[in-house]
Symmetry: C2
Subunit: 257 residues, 2 copies
């Protein structure tokens, strides 16, 4: 039987606000077994950029990353957010190690080509994740804390979507482990009624998803999110859970498998 | 016979300027055997702080680190400088891993108490270095790249002098390895004549040092520097070399043993 690993992805909003960060870290610390935390960026990067005179441009919710913005996200994601989370986790008794994809050549990516006339700049799409090295770290009692930065192997860091990184890390670990991938977000799970937090759909399979889509229950931004979850399951991840950061525990949220 | 490790400390000035950084990284990459890079902070922190409206105060060349300045150095040292160095080293074929003292609980420190009415703020004095964990990393083919930040184990990062960190890392590794500690600085070595770069004193032992001091050959800021080097040698480090970053190779600079 494979050993279990939980990969938790949290957004920048949660790790930036001291109160929600503390709640998350305590929940995360309490999770049994091997685990990985992948964190997003968030608004601090936009604030720091503004103060440094670097303009923020977003296209479809993604940050256009020119050379100056890359410096900002390297500082904020790789330094400020990542190292604060590591220090706090250490205080919670978790032997955390902050990582970007460049560290130990863990996550290689290539610069995203221009699409539909949009040049995202120094944004990377993931090519490979070194699951063996991550497994070694986990077996040696270390909890990786991954910032949303990768590298191209030619000396350049690349800004990378944290949801994607969490998915790729989960898939790479699935070769050796039984992996549960948890996406923390602002709702209690996938809701049957968007105005009712109690209407969480507990389980979604590929067949359910097709039905929910056809019935118009799941729409908009949730469609690609669930599609990504199902694709992770298709690639060997045991289950994906979508839940709120403050209910990071068994039996909460929507399980996709 | 113990395996050899070289611990190289470079100042912030060298890693901040693209041309001197490239030279250093190529020299460092070419060093044979196991190695560790410890980098300082430097002027980028002061520049970023100024743009963010955070005032820089220095006392005896040390940075007073209030909560806002701690955020800045966490971004600049732990993020910008550290991760750029890691990405560049990866491109040079060195399997670099960026670390602060908080990562894997590597370097614990305590906040420096107020001295002579000066409160340095979030500045840490090193208590312990986990030499075993560093040795594991080295044996697994990883080259640690250490930023001048430590933690107190209670969730706080602390700004820490990079020279001191390099010395403590070297001492911790000396239990298992034959350690050469290299301090890169702006001169070719300890100079017998401060106006002549060719007057490098090739070797200084404790006895030589006492004589050089008595003769007034070594004065000012070099005195505590050499004292620290001799103390590292006293604590088991095989030799300490003081040299320029661009001559990072056998037989250059001043050897202290």
């Amino acid at each position: 039987m494979k050993q279990k690993v939980t990969v938790v992805k949290v957004g920048g909003k949660i790790v930036e606000a001291p109160d929600t960060l503390e709640t998350l870290l305590h929940r995360f610390s309490a999770l049994e077994g091997l685990k990985v935390l992948v964190h997003g960026g968030g608004r601090t990067a936009t604030e720091v950029a503004a103060k440094l005179g670097v303009e923020t441009h977003m296209v479809d919710g993604r940050r256009i990353t020119d050379a100056d913005m890359l410096r900002v996200v390297t500082m904020v994601y790789g330094g400020l957010v990542n190292k604060q989370v590591v220090a706090r986790l250490q205080a919670c008794g978790v032997n955390a190690l902050g990582l970007t994809g460049a560290d130990m050549n863990l996550i290689r990516s290539h610069r995203r080509p221009e699409r539909n006339g949009v040049d995202f700049g120094f944004v990377g799409d993931v090519d490979t994740v070194d699951g063996e090295r991550l497994a070694q770290l986990l077996h040696s009692g270390v909890t990786p804390v991954v910032a949303p930065l990768t590298h191209d192997g030619e000396g350049h860091l690349l800004n990378t979507n944290a949801d994607t990184m969490a998915g790729e890390v989960a898939k790479a670990l699935a070769r050796q482990f039984e992996v549960t991938l948890v996406y923390c977000f602002e709702h209690a799970g996938v809701l049957a009624d968007p105005d009712n937090e109690a209407s969480v759909i507990p389980l979604i399979t590929r067949r359910d998803f097709d039905a929910l889509k056809a019935q118009g229950v799941v729409t908009g931004g949730m469609l690609p999110k669930i599609e990504n979850c199902l694709s992770a399951v298709g690639a060997g991840v045991r289950r994906v859970v979508i839940t709120r950061a403050d209910t990071l525990q068994e039996g909460c949220g929507t399980t996709i498998e």
